[in-house]
Amino acid sequence: MYRYDEYDQAIVDARVDEFRDQVARRLSGAMTEDQFKPLRLMNGLYLQLHAYMLRVAVPYGTLDPRQLRMLAHIARTYDRGYAHFTTRQNIQFNWIKLADAPDILAELATVEMHAIQTSGNCIRNVSSDQFAGAAADEVADPRPVAELIRQWSTFHPEFSYLPRKFKIAVIASGEDRAAMRLHDIGLKLVRRDDVLGAEVYVGGGMGRTPMIAPLIRDFVPLGELMGYLEACLRVYNRYGRRDNIYKARIKILLHEIGADAYRDQVEAEWAQIRGLGIDPPAAELDRIAAMFAGPVFRDDAPEALDRGDPDFAAWLDQNVRAHKRAGYAIVTVSLKPVGGIPGDASADQIDLLADLAERYGHDEARVTHAQNIVLPHVRRADLHAVWNRLRDAGLAEPNLDLVSDIIACPGLDYCSLANARSIPLAQKIGRRFAGRERELGELKLKISGCINACGHHHAGHIGVLGVDRKGTENFQLLLGGSGAEDASLGKITGPGFDEDGVVDAIERVTDRYLSERIAGERFLDTYRRIGMTPFKEAIYDPA
């Protein structure tokens, strides 16, 4: 894992001091709320329906036990004993007092954490593959590149007042576990002639106008990547729309001028700035990469397991994935218990995850964009012990990638933008399908409480969008989306439903899938083969 040196620590400490100063000026009335808003937003502090929400950055989703314990401590001391893991691999506290925020940031700084650029119209926290360093199919660990981008983008003097927020994801595997092409910039590490570089995708996103990012450059050597990103951002900062908040993301710029014109502008800009020394010395990426070298794995770790307990076997089959090293496994801890709130964890649960990471997981945990937690390096011989501890804490739900592993935004229960409640719907769906999830196989269901699409409904195999229809909550259903390497955008089935109606409609869809599927097909495969029509019939014209 990355460790701060004196320079990193000084920057984070200075930020705490700066924010303390800003909060004091706001509380004294020296600053208006209008002036304070972009400053607090750039530090992850939102004013929600009931209180302030503080979003803390988890760079590329990687946490160590010390950091997890700090998050649990903050949940206990400053919040109501729980916290919420987000689709951007971050963590949010929903009941924060403004006057406490500087102290919370000071506590976070002691464990090398911060809330820098977790909101605002700037380059946000960089996300990555939760299996980084453990997956067998990666060309390199993507996190050193993500860390380099974190540093390059932190307080970038040119890009703090962009037209709109800007999200970057980095992956290094054929399998895309980070929805890379649904980001403003998606980077996929590739090797060419023994040189590591990146494919650069620009202009993806969800929201009102979902777009899958086109490939803008098929190879940028890592040694020149920061300069190329600077060119990408500068073109956007200069020419992105600022007249309409809904058209201000970079995807709209690409859509309006075309990917080819954008590519040409970036190349021209890159040519202008290439000799300016924007990229760090090569030794910097080497320095960072050395910290991600990973644990020392044992060559004699046994592979065999006792699958005698059927509950344990079900969890193994669903939540445990192959590790690059024999005798090890990647564990995904589901934060989606039936009837629970997707992504929520209590302080005690977070402490338990810290204990497990420390005792069995080589001191590492990851947050996933699907709002679960990964222990990336667990010896197979320890899996049963891990499962027992998780089960005692209510964290052993064997539902990774199944219909109840729902991504949901906070919705109208917390969010001032929402039109509808996402959480109660997720709970209802979980209860409706309880016991039948494995029969349905991989089925990614995603719920957004408004058009801003924080719950990734466009990318759900089944997506649900909450809208406001004449003052009542109404839910639209979408089918056929994917945020993975086969990225696609879901299509709306037709007229929307009330809360119970959409649960019924989802069940009709899955019933039709079960009657239509051929061997080995996931729901998404069947949908792509037979199209929307049979599902529409099942929903709106049941026999």
């Binding site: 320079y7 972009p38 307080f155 040119e158 920061m226 900062n237 030794a283």
Partner: protein, 149 residues
Amino acid sequence: MRDEGGGDTPTVLRFRDDAVHDEPAVTLDAFAAQPDATAVRLEAGDDARALLPALERLQLVEVGFPSFRDGRGYSAAAILREAGYRGELRAAGDVLVDQIAAMRRAGFDSFAPETPLDDAVARRALARYQSPYQAAADRAETVWRRRHG
């Protein structure tokens, strides 16, 4: 840091030792038509690169910030400094005290905010961050450079 100006003109905060340039800044269009002009004002949507052929004679570039949220002027400043412009580069308009440290990094060396800045807050803001990660127009020694000599 020194304040100059007075009367009805907004107070200018300058980080330069030369004398204040007293020629009024003209628009980019007017500048193109006046071969002797030495001061120009760029609006947020203007292309700073249009000035590159005239850098030799320019002594003052004023960049307008219609709203503190409009960040185009930071790119304009960076482009001019990258091209070798050494004259005064002034941020004018809706410029807030919490922005001037980044603006200094982007290449601005004078400020004409609509609302005067609190001097003590400005001093704290400018002194707060020691080493930045990334290279910028201010040529501050970066963390990356310090780490690797």
